[in-house]
Symmetry: D2
Subunit: 301 residues, 4 copies
């Protein structure tokens, strides 16, 4: 099939290359000249404007956005709309909030344009291993574009699917990332316990490696743990500063909104907040209070 890829950063360029390998034709646009050049070097047919991208594709067109979640998605859609014709489809493969996707689907439908939101997992490994894709939007439209998903996925009939109406693809991805936070935190805590048990002298990378086969906790994230711990057993030089991208926050907010108790996903998010809070005002107040009632004294900064 023919696809227009908007956003040729690491994710967009990798996905474009995987589509090329799948026999599709990929035209690509990115506002950055360097990104365009790099993508061109990988075989993607790059153009210098959204208008040129639209022109380069046969109708009905499929435009795949792979840009950071947020206002840039709305801005790009706003710029695309006057260029598109009824029957064209906008696909958002980024980490957008599902309610934004629902709103965008409605706005595009009013103009006769199609919409799919695709929750995309796989990170930098997706190029070789394939991407896990949850597709939201019109089922018939998802069916028509199935060859694209089949090429991006790990196997034509596995690792992707149409999961519901507009927003469902990004909702599923949001929950995926919430789960991911919980899984990562569980492993991190476990290895921290092993690491602190100095009397037993564990080789963390070895333990991780053993668990990779046959154990109940084997997983792809454990594979990565094993690699990280093998490459840098003491995790030297890596600051205990854990960013979060938004999906975890949305999952926590959605769980509360749905009255679902999600203590582990929530604590995993909170631990990330804590990791970035050097000021730790709450802890300072606790220290002050202990001193106030017990005369325990405090440590000084």
């Amino acid at each position: 099939m023919d696809l227009g890829m908007i956003g040729l950063g690491r994710m967009g360029a990798n996905m474009g290359e995987r589509l090329l390998r799948g026999g599709h034709r990929v035209a690509g646009y990115d506002p950055g000249e360097a990104a365009r050049a790099a993508a061109a070097a990988r075989g993607i047919e790059t153009v210098e404007s959204l208008a040129a991208l639209v022109d380069a594709l046969p109708a009905p067109r499929a435009l795949w956005l792979m840009v950071p979640a947020g206002p840039i998605v709305d801005d790009t859609i706003a710029a695309l709309r006057p260029l598109l014709a009824a029957g064209d489809t906008v696909i958002d493969g980024g980490n957008s909030f599902y309610r934004d996707s629902q709103r965008r689907a409605e706005q595009l439908a009013a103009a006769g344009l199609g919409w799919l939101d695709v929750g995309t997992s796989g990170g930098i490994w997706g190029l070789e291993e394939g991407y896990s894709l949850t597709v939201g939007g019109d089922a018939a439209l998802a069916g028509r574009l199935a060859p694209l998903f089949a090429s991006l996925a790990p196997a034509p009939d596995r690792g992707w699917g149409h999961v519901g109406p507009a927003g469902a693809g990004h909702f599923a991805k949001m929950v995926h990332n919430g789960i991911e936070y919980g899984l990562m935190q569980a492993y991190a805590e476990g290895f921290a316990i092993l690491q602190r048990k100095e009397a037993l002298g564990f080789d963390l990378a070895q333990v991780a490696e053993i668990w990779r086969e046959g154990s109940v906790v084997r997983s792809w994230l454990l594979d990565l743990c094993a690699g990280s711990l093998r490459d840098n057993p003491g995790l030297e030089g890596i600051a205990p500063y854990v960013a979060d991208s938004g999906e975890g926050r949305w999952t926590v907010a959605e769980a509360i909104d749905l009255d679902v108790a999600a203590p582990v996903i929530t604590q995993a998010l909170i631990e990330r907040l804590r990791s970035r809070d050097d000021a730790a005002f709450a802890d300072r107040l606790l220290a002050a209070l202990r001193d106030a009632f017990g005369g325990h004294g405090v440590r000084h900064d």
Copy 2:
């Protein structure tokens, strides 16, 4: 090699069969006649007493305990000791507390007997897929018995290893199970959020299936989630009652003892406690308090 297996329940019998497949000779004892008969039917050479088991093995003997953690381990070791000769080895493959294993290793060493504690993961799937084994105890002894571990593991050189002195094998397994609690809870919360989002109509088994390939959250536990949700999409008839076997409690206690913050593993345990507490006294008191200060009223049982 020759091995004596003590305890021919599901785990012991399966492990015995896997060892047989690996070309070892397995003699087995279980106090239960039915268990012995079932094991015999699977090719294990069963005997009717510990003494007969010891007699059936050439020195230096290897005796593998696969019995429930707790006093039965001490009782069995006490019964074995007068029957064993210097150089024989007792292996505990069950879920014993690592400090008990350290104590038992010392007691046996004083009698010239060897000890290995083997954290064994794999559950009922281990027979076919192999067991993940973390071995604690004397390194030379673990090396001498390596052929047994190589046969039990998923592959001769993968999925098992000698991880440290006596106790280390069970310590690692304890942490493994703590991680397992956290992983399971993370998935359970995620699917609960999807399930409650009725407006999007997710097919949970489908989403699980999609994530099994290419996603960041792919894992063996997710494979099981997919199976459980496919077999029983509404989880009908399954009570929300989650048992715990002790390893999670020990992990939480050990984390606190080591001053390691393990919020996710801990919350996963707490959620299990909560699942079994229908009386929910704390919640009743909260309801009473809300009424006391706000006149909000309460629901009645």
Copy 3:
């Protein structure tokens, strides 16, 4: 001073009565006839429409809203606006979300009208013990209406204050309620532990009563615990169902938005969600998973 009270439910009527006791003149309106009659019986000068209320007050007027948070606040303000004159002030003493209060303040300011948002704590005890009031909005305006706050508060110069610009009063109240969730949950857990320790046979009401004097945990909420446990030691007939009014959710969302780790307030909210979730899908999935890998079986509903 003269005040118009809009909303003569329990909170509004009680506050009106306390203002009367303070020597103020209180005109009141409520759409419900019964509420008006009850308030009139307590000495509040009731009228049958917002227009009549506005007419009954000398300019510049002070109108105090004591209605449920949400659209009814906007509706009431919309109905009031054409009736008011520049220099009049709307006061929201309910549990509105602070961002709504900021928006309302701006809208009213554009019409030359004043705004104060008053976080009001004290519940049904406020009539006798006074209300704790955090006032947000223009400082000079708060100063002009100080006699009202002084009468509502426990003492003229204590228990109330102007804490910041519009929204600050409700923001502080939101955090107050978040703290309240955490405090209540801490007590509830503690008494649940005592209750479950059957071997020591605690009389919970007695322990609560002892702690009320001299202990580090003494508080007004503990006073209420003591009362609830004395009146109904087993909390018989009170269902473990804990409602939440919104302020706790906002606190959790705000903490995340500000990157502040608030694990205890958050867990207290989550516990309330859990208390109301009989279906407990997550727990069912955990039970199913344990069975899937360990063959542990499940309990049936």
Copy 4:
């Protein structure tokens, strides 16, 4: 009454002084000469050995231990036993683990000696405000020594009581401290949220002061918060390092042992552990993992 106080540190000396004010005779012993001298200056009749202390008291004697929890309690009891006569009583007013108290009660009973364990709350404020006391042990014995408790408590008939058999006094104090952890953390989180909301410019001490009167969250700990925030609004120079004394850990362990879900008390403890863990291995591993799957990069130490 006559009392022998063993341990004349801050708590012991203050309690001795309060008993003197209550008209009792207090003989005191401490191994430290400076502590003895300071106590003597406050009117306590000090002696230089346990033997001298026992000699100084009329039978049946009451010996009150106010020493750090742990082996020193056993050592002191071992040293006392040969000096005491049947009918004498040992009282432990420190923060001992309740199971130790149960064991000690049994050991002393076997020698005809009485035992009371007294959970003592009030900290450095107890001298003036009185101590909250939960007494465990024989009811008749507690009744005989009631005049001592009546003088130590905030009022003769309030703030103290016999709550159960040996161990019950310390069990209640353990839970008291668990609750205390939760309460402190709830306040600390709330004030941290207010502090971080810079756009509203809260004066934290003012808000605390307002809430002290009439609000649902008013408490003695809030009084202390108000004082700490007034004295040092930015909590300058106070490190975010929060010690814990053991009682919180025991509460968490006991809750788990009793199958009681105590998420808030537990998280409050975990937050203290986290406050002291600068290495934060778990967070480092999370950062490494995010980089491994997403190529997000890491911050460097």
